[in-house]
C-alpha cells in the first residue's frame, strides 16, 4: 500500500520518511485514575510536507505533539510505540542526545507564546542564546543570525525589536518571535500547536502565510495542530482527524474537506458554521466528547454516532481504505 499513513512493517526510517510514528500510546497515571490520552497513533511525514491534525478539545493533539519531542512529565507518563525523527529513536534517546535533537532537528511553536518566551530576557537575547548553546558560534555571530531570523519572519524594525521584552510586543509580533526562536537552529521538523488560535483574524492569516512560505523555502516537515478546519485547509497537505486519542480519518486535505467519510468528520464539518448555512438548522453532533478515563474496546464515537450499529461495539474499528491515500476507522463505511 502506498499510503503515506500506512503502518510501516519494517521500522526503518529512510528516504522521505522524516518522521515515522508507530502505534504511539500515551497514558497519564495517578493513584486514582488513568487518562488514556493517545491510543495508537501511526503516521509518517516526508520532508516538505505539512500534516494537519484536526480535533476538538481534549482529543489528544497537544499530547501527541509533545510525545514527538518527549516533552511530557516523566514520572506520571507512560509512553508506548515508536517515534523516529530523522533517524533518531526519540523514545530511546539518552537525555543528552535528546536535548541535542530538540531544537536542531525538531522544534515546536506553542499556542501561547508567553509560555515559551522568558519574560525577564529580551527576545533577541533568548534566540541568540539558543543559537550559541546549540551551534557553538560566537555571540556576535548568533546575534547576526537572530537579526536575519527576525527579518525572515517579517518583524518590522527588526534591529530595534531584538531588544524588546516579550510583553512589549503585540500578539502577532510575539508569535513571529516564537517562530524565529523555533527556526533558530534550522530544524528539519517543525511542530506547531495551534500557533494562530489566540490571534485576530487579520493577524492569523498573516502568520499562516508566513509559516507556509518558510516551510516551502526551508523544506521542513511540519505537523500543524488545530481545532479549526478552515485553518487546516489553508496550510495542510494531508489531514488527520483526531478523536479520543486516535486518528479516525486520514488523507489528502482536499478530498477530506470536500467529502469526509467518517461520521465524526462529517459531523464536525457539518457543525462548523459558515455563511451558506444562514437560516438553516445546524446539524450538531449530539452528546459530548468522551471520557478518557475509560478506554472502550469499541468505536469511541459510537455513543454519539448517528450510524451506530451492534458491529461498532464489537471492537476498535480497523483502518478502512476509503480512497487514494485515505483511510477511516469506521466499520460502517462501504469500501470503494
Amino acid at each position: 500500500m502506498s499510503s503515506s499513513f500506512a503502518v510501516a512493517t519494517s521500522a526503518i526510517s529512510t528516504g522521505d520518511r522524516l518522521v515515522e510514528v508507530n502505534d504511539l500510546t500515551v497514558r497519564f497515571v495517578s493513584k486514582d485514575t488513568t487518562i488514556h490520552a493517545v491510543n495508537g497513533v501511526s503516521f509518517t511525514l516526508a520532508a516538505g510536507e505539512v500534516l494537519g491534525i484536526l480535533g476538538e478539545s481534549g482529543s489528544g493533539k497537544t499530547v501527541t505533539l509533545r510525545a514527538l519531542m518527549r516533552l511530557l512529565p516523566e514520572g506520571r507518563t507512560q509512553i508506548g510505540g515508536t517515534v523516529r525523527v530523522a533517524g533518531h529513536d526519540v523514545l530511546g534517546l539518552s537525555p543528552g542526545a535528546l536535548s541535542r535533537v530538540r531544537g536542531s532537528t525538531i522544534a515546536m511553536i506553542f499556542q501561547e507564546p508567553m509560555t515559551a518566551l522568558d519574560p525577564v530576557y529580551t527576545v533577541g537575547y533568548q534566540i541568540a542564546e539558543t543559537v550559541v548553546r546549540h551551534e557553538n558560534v560566537s555571540w556576535a555571530e548568533a546575534r547576526r543570525r537572530t537579526l536575519d531570523l527576525f527579518e525572515k519572519v517579517q518583524i518590522p524594525s527588526a534591529q530595534r525589536r531584538l531588544d524588546a521584552y516579550p510583553h512589549e510586543l503585540s500578539g502577532g509580533l510575539r508569535q513571529r518571535a516564537m517562530i524565529a526562536l523555533a527556526l533558530s537552529c534550522r530544524p528539519s521538523v517543525l511542530l506547531a500547536d495551534e500557533p494562530t488560535t489566540a490571534l485576530d483574524a487579520t493577524v492569523q492569516i498573516q502568520i499562516l502565510l508566513l509559516l507556509r512560505s518558510l516551510q516551502k523555502e526551508l523544506g521542513m516537515g511540519v505537523v500543524f495542530v488545530t481545532h479549526d478546519v478552515g485553518v487546516a485547509g489553508e496550510i495542510a497537505d494531508k489531514l488527520a482527524i483526531m478523536y479520543a486519542g486516535r486518528f479516525i480519518e486520514t488523507g489528502p486535505v482536499t478530498p477530506i474537506m470536500r467529502a469526509p467519510r467518517h461520521p465524526y468528520t462529517e459531523g464536525l464539518l457539518a457543525s462548523t458554521v459558515h455563511g451558506a448555512m444562514r437560516g438553516q438548522r445546524l446539524k450538531a453532533i449530539q452528546g459530548s466528547p468522551p471520557n478518557l478515563e475509560i478506554l472502550p474496546a469499541a468505536c469511541s464515537f459510537a455513543p454519539r454516532c448517528p450510524r451506530v450499529a451492534d458491529i461498532c461495539l464489537a471492537g476498535v474499528p480497523p483502518e478502512v481504505p476509503t480512497g487514494p491515500d485515505r483511510m477511516a476507522r469506521c466499520v460502517r463505511i462501504t469500501q470503494n
Binding site: 476538538e56 500578539g171 478546519v229 474537506m257 457543525s271 459558515h274 455563511g275 448555512m277 445546524l282
Partner: protein, 347 residues
C-alpha cells in the same frame, strides 16, 4: 447621503428596544505616566447604535476594539464617561438603584467563561432560581421555573438539577448560564463570546438552542463574537468596531456581500477560504491593530489602510448613512467632497 441619525440608521420598524448614543469610556492607564500626562485607553469612543425588538445585532471586531466594554456600559456594569442609553423607551442614565435593578433584570448577559460565572458551591438548579428569588419570587415557584428552564436548554432536571458546576461539561455549563440569564424573563440578552470557548460540535448545539429560545421567549439578542462565520449565521444586522469606534453597520447580507469600509473588507477576506484549492495568497492586511492608548489621529484605521490619504490623518470620518438606507459607513471615501480622491465615486 445624510448624516446618520444619532441612533444609527434603522430598518424603520418603529421604536428601537435599545438606543445608544454618544457612548464613551476612557480607562485611565496606571503606572505608565510618571509625572507626564495621564494616559487613557479610548476603549469606547462616541459609539451610537440601536437594536430593534426581535432582531439579533452582531458585533464584530478584533481583540480590544471595545465590544465587551460596550455591552458592559449598556448593562451599567461599568459607568460610562458620557452618552445616552434608552431601553424600552426610557432613559437609563443616572436612575436610582431600584429602578436600575428592575431594568437590568430585563437586560441580561451571558459571558464566555462558563466556569467562573457560576457559583461552584450551588447546585445548578439553585443557581438558576437565585435571580428570581432575589426579585421576590416564592421558593417553590422559582424552583419550578428553574426546572422548566433546564428543560428548555435541553438538560433533564431530574438528572442534572442537583449537580454542581464542576460535574458538567463546558457545553452543559454554558447552557446553565443561558438558563440563568433567562430566569428573569429578559427582553434583551447580550451574548458576549457565549459560544466561543465551546468545541465546534457542541457550539452547533448551543447555537441551535439560542435560535429556539429566541423564538420561544420573544428575545432580542446582541451577539458579540470574533467568529465572523458564527456572526453571519445568527445576526440580522452587524456592527463592525475598530479601536473603540463603529466603522460600519448594516444588514448582515449587505455587510458580508458588499462591505464598504476598507477594514470590514479586509477583516472578512481574512477568513480562511474553506477550500484548499483556493487558498488565500496575500494577507488582506499587514501589521497588528495599533495601541488603543494613543490611537491614530483622524481615521483610526489609516495606519493599516491601503486607501489612506492626507485627509484621513487630519479629519475623523463621520459615520454616514448611505443612500440605500440602513447601511452606515465611517470612511472619507464615502463622504462627498471630503478631500479624498475617491470621495463620492462609490455608490
Amino acid at each position: 447621503m445624510s448624516q446618520a441619525t444619532p441612533l444609527g440608521a434603522g430598518p424603520g420598524r418603529g421604536e428601537p428596544l435599545l438606543a445608544v448614543s454618544g457612548l464613551r469610556k476612557y480607562f485611565p492607564v496606571k503606572g505608565l505616566s510618571f509625572g507626564g500626562p495621564s494616559l487613557v485607553v479610548k476603549a469606547v469612543d462616541e459609539v451610537n447604535f440601536a437594536v430593534w425588538p426581535g432582531e439579533t445585532l452582531g458585533i464584530v471586531g478584533e481583540s480590544g476594539c471595545g465590544k465587551s466594554t460596550t455591552a458592559r456600559l449598556v448593562m451599567r456594569l461599568i459607568e460610562p464617561d458620557s452618552g445616552q442609553v434608552r431601553f424600552e423607551g426610557r432613559e437609563l442614565a443616572g436612575g436610582s438603584n431600584a429602578s436600575l435593578r428592575a431594568v437590568r433584570s430585563r437586560m441580561q448577559m451571558v459571558f464566555q467563561d462558563s466556569y467562573s460565572s457560576l457559583n461552584p458551591r450551588l447546585p445548578i438548579e439553585d443557581t438558576i432560581a437565585f435571580g428570581p428569588r432575589v426579585h421576590g419570587t416564592p421558593r417553590a415557584e422559582a424552583r419550578e421555573r428553574a426546572r422548566r428552564l433546564l428543560a428548555a436548554v435541553g438538560l433533564d432536571s431530574a438528572r442534572f438539577g442537583r449537580r454542581y458546576p464542576h460535574e458538567l461539561s463546558g457545553g452543559q455549563r454554558q447552557r446553565i448560564n443561558i438558563a440563568r440569564a433567562l430566569a428573569l424573563n429578559p427582553r434583551l440578552v447580550f451574548l458576549d463570546e457565549a459560544v466561543s470557548a465551546l468545541d465546534k460540535s457542541v457550539q452547533a448545539q448551543v447555537l441551535n438552542l439560542l435560535v429556539d429560545l429566541k423564538a420561544e421567549f420573544n428575545l432580542t439578542y446582541v451577539f458579540i463574537s470574533h467568529d465572523l462565520n458564527v456572526v453571519q449565521y445568527i445576526s440580522d444586522r452587524v456592527l463592525v468596531m475598530y479601536l473603540g469606534k463603529v466603522v460600519e453597520t448594516g444588514p448582515v447580507d449587505v455587510i458580508y456581500n458588499a462591505p464598504r469600509h476598507p477594514y470590514t473588507q479586509a477583516l472578512l477576506s481574512s477568513r480562511p477560504s474553506m477550500d484548499p484549492e483556493r487558498r488565500i495568497t496575500v494577507p488582506p492586511l499587514t501589521g497588528d491593530p495599533p495601541n488603543p492608548i494613543n490611537p491614530p489621529s483622524g481615521c483610526r484605521f489609516r495606519t493599516r489602510c491601503s486607501f489612506a490619504e492626507e485627509v484621513c490623518a487630519r479629519v475623523e470620518p463621520p459615520l454616514l448613512a448611505l443612500p440605500c438606507g440602513g447601511h452606515d459607513v465611517a470612511c472619507h471615501m464615502m463622504v462627498p467632497n471630503s478631500g479624498h480622491s475617491r470621495a463620492g465615486q462609490a455608490s
